[in-house]
């Protein structure tokens, strides 16, 4: 079976471009050009150079000795938390800003939930001297004040999304509406492997540098390119797509996607899309999403703003339905504890998103000699307030 995108923009039953005609010229321009542009030698050169000199790649593949001992298996952490700006998100924004420049766009828009993607976008816009407008839900603006300040310091305009539930999905709607209203000079930098084709594929390709590096690094450390498992948290699914990418067609590598169960899958406050979602259309893509029986999109919940999205990218919907991926959901409480454990065991403060991936080891048992690579998608600086409040650390 093919787990990557086909020529029509689908992953199995999922994907496509369900967009209003107003967006057709923009999306079509991107579709026709993205692979061609990405393959140009000078694009590759600039992309690789920026990832190395500016982002700080390759990020280490770190053998977490004490964590491994605790769980009786071999756990490596892919240290995306050490990327400039603090998460994997910047791999994608570097790629897309170079794409935007080659398509002649001079105005950049983006959506953000927690603010990580907004910061990563504002950063590359500052780097390239391009105008940057970031849409963020009014509620998230209040919850994530430090990231709002960072974006402003970087020169971006932060626009409050006041529609609907005033969180990530509404910020995405507003960014799409902006794009409809500015069809010629603007590029929309989507922050995950979501949205209409070709976005999921383009973002996955930019993030695929993660598994490209893991292959080389694991060969050095373990004498083999393939681990037994790769594990990542899934909000929209970009860090997961990045670490799964080069292993999709390697059946010997188990793929584990970790979703946010929030207060529990059946609590009504959850973001576990594979467990609760049904096939439908969100933000231009046919995928699994949380919705009412009547097809209205529902509001998800997770303690981690980056996992608080009612859908998953079409690649992940396909990995779920085909059975290629194992999907696990982790509650707020288990994720928070796993995050704190990593601090104590390894001296690394993880983003709460990434803590979800770390939390599976309590229940999901691995063999002693299994090599399990966990994508540590981001660092926890942005989450300090949440950690402080949750564990009463002040």
């Amino acid at each position: 079976m093919n787990y990557n995108v086909n020529e029509k923009g689908y992953y199995g039953d999922f994907g496509g471009a369900y967009i209003p005609e107003m967006l057709y010229p923009n999306v079509e321009e991107l579709r026709q050009n993205y692979i061609k542009v990405m393959q140009e030698p000078d694009f590759q050169k600039e992309f690789k150079e920026l990832l190395k000199e500016y982002v700080g790649r390759p990020t280490p593949l770190y053998y977490a000795k004490r964590f491994s001992e605790k769980y009786g298996t071999k756990v490596y952490l892919k240290r995306e938390d050490l990327c400039h700006t603090g998460a994997h998100k910047v791999n994608n924004t570097i790629g897309q800003i170079l794409m935007a420049k080659r398509l002649g766009k001079n105005r950049i828009i983006a959506e953000t939930g927690a603010g990580q993607h907004g910061v990563a976008t504002a950063t590359v816009c500052a780097l390239m001297g391009l105008e940057c407008i970031v849409y963020m839900g009014a509620i998230d603006i209040k919850r994530q004040a430090p990231n709002v300040a960072r974006m402003k310091m970087l020169g971006a305009t932060v626009v409050s999304a006041e529609s609907g539930s005033k969180t990530l999905k509404d910020a995405t709607n507003e960014a799409i509406r902006d794009w409809i209203n500015n069809p010629t000079d603007t590029h929309y930098i989507i922050g995950s492997v979501v949205g209409p084709h070709p976005y999921p594929d383009m973002v996955a390709r930019f993030q695929s540098v993660i598994s490209e590096e893991v292959k080389k690094q694991l060969l050095e450390k373990e004498g083999r390119e393939n681990p037994d498992y790769v594990v990542a948290c899934v909000g929209g699914g970009s860090n997961a797509a990045g670490i799964f990418y080069h292993y999709l067609d390697k059946p010997e590598v188990g793929i584990i996607a970790v979703e946010a169960a929030g207060k529990g899958i059946h609590s009504g406050e959850s973001a576990a899309t594979s467990a609760l979602g049904k096939e439908g259309i969100i933000h231009g893509s046919k995928t699994l999403l949380m919705q009412t029986d009547d097809g209205q999109i529902t509001e998800p919940y997770s303690i981690s703003a980056g996992l608080d999205y009612p859908g998953v990218g079409p690649m992940h919907a396909h990995l779920f339905r085909s059975g290629r991926g194992e999907f696990i959901s982790v509650t707020d409480a288990d994720a928070m504890q796993a995050g704190l454990d990593l601090c104590k065991l390894e001296g690394i403060i993880p983003a709460i998103e990434s803590s979800h991936a770390l939390a599976i080891f309590e229940d999901r048992k691995f063999r002693k000699d299994d090599v399990v690579v966990v994508n540590l998608s981001g660092r926890g600086d942005k989450d300090l307030n949440t950690y402080i409040e949750y564990f009463d650390l002040a």
């Binding site: 057709y24 010229p25 609907g164 409809i180 009547d294």
Partner: protein
């Protein structure tokens, strides 16, 4: 003959009104429809509200949010208008986003529309290619006309494809925008209207987005067959209620 095709043959400029079902009150759907017919409009688009209406500006978004809060659903709408053909005989089009239709079941949705006497559908996020590959046969089986949008950025080549795929009218979006931008028409739009007119399409065009008064209605229908008013109508409805409908329609087309 489908009511849309028949209406388009009439020798006059058509006025079509969009409104959100279940707004301002859940049970206002039918009273609004009947008052619009009494006021002499030529065609009506019944908006099925969606939680995430990407192509819409604030006015229609807010009316959709209110309608959903009021309890509007697909099944509820079909139930409200099940006897509408006893009192209304102008073309009726359901306009909504694709996800609610998908959840209801595309065939079941089409069948319900056909039993009620709906003549066409506008689904802005169901693109031409998907429609033709997966849904066209079902729409046609129930004699539902799918109405496609074009914009100033749509290439001539694609406009011709859309013209070929359409049997009814083409929804000509006046500018690159979401609904409810009402700054009037500039030369850019007039050029666009004329460019489309010169293409001699087989389907007549009806202009939407940005029509709000007599002046914009006249400008839009100089070349096009008709015009659709949405946000301006919803705004009036919010302020004046159903009693305001007839004088609003008179102000557009005295």
């Amino acid at each position: 003959m489908n009511r849309i095709n028949k209406k388009l043959q009439e020798d006059k400029k058509l006025l079509s009104i969009y409104f959100t079902a279940g707004y301002p009150k859940l049970e206002d759907t039918v009273p609004v429809l009947e008052e619009l017919v009494k006021s002499g409009v030529d065609m009506i688009e019944i908006g099925l509200p969606f939680s995430d209406p990407l192509a819409d500006g604030p006015t229609i978004q807010e009316s959709s949010t209110t309608a959903l809060k009021n309890g509007m659903t697909t099944a509820k709408l079909f139930d409200q208008i099940k006897d509408i053909r006893k009192t209304v005989d102008i073309p009726l089009i359901v306009m909504g986003y694709f996800n609610p239709m998908l959840q209801y079941g595309v065939e079941k949705f089409c069948k319900a529309c056909s039993e009620i006497g709906i003549d066409g559908l506008i689904m802005p996020d169901l693109p031409l290619a998907e429609y033709e590959e997966h849904y066209k046969a079902t729409f046609e089986k129930y004699d539902l006309k799918m109405v496609f949008l074009i914009t100033p950025q749509t290439s001539d080549k694609r406009i011709k494809q859309i013209d070929t795929a359409s049997d009814g009218f083409i929804y000509m979006v006046s500018s690159a925008s979401t609904t409810g931008k009402t700054s009037g028409f500039s030369n850019v739009q007039r050029d666009y209207f004329e460019r489309i007119d010169a293409l001699n399409l087989k389907n007549p065009q009806i202009v939407g987005f940005g029509i709000k008064d007599e002046e914009t209605f006249k400008a839009a229908t100089k070349t096009a067959k008709g015009a659709i008013i949405g946000s301006a109508f919803i705004k009036m409805l919010t302020e004046k209620g159903i009693e305001g409908i007839s004088s609003f329609i008179k102000s557009i087309r005295p």
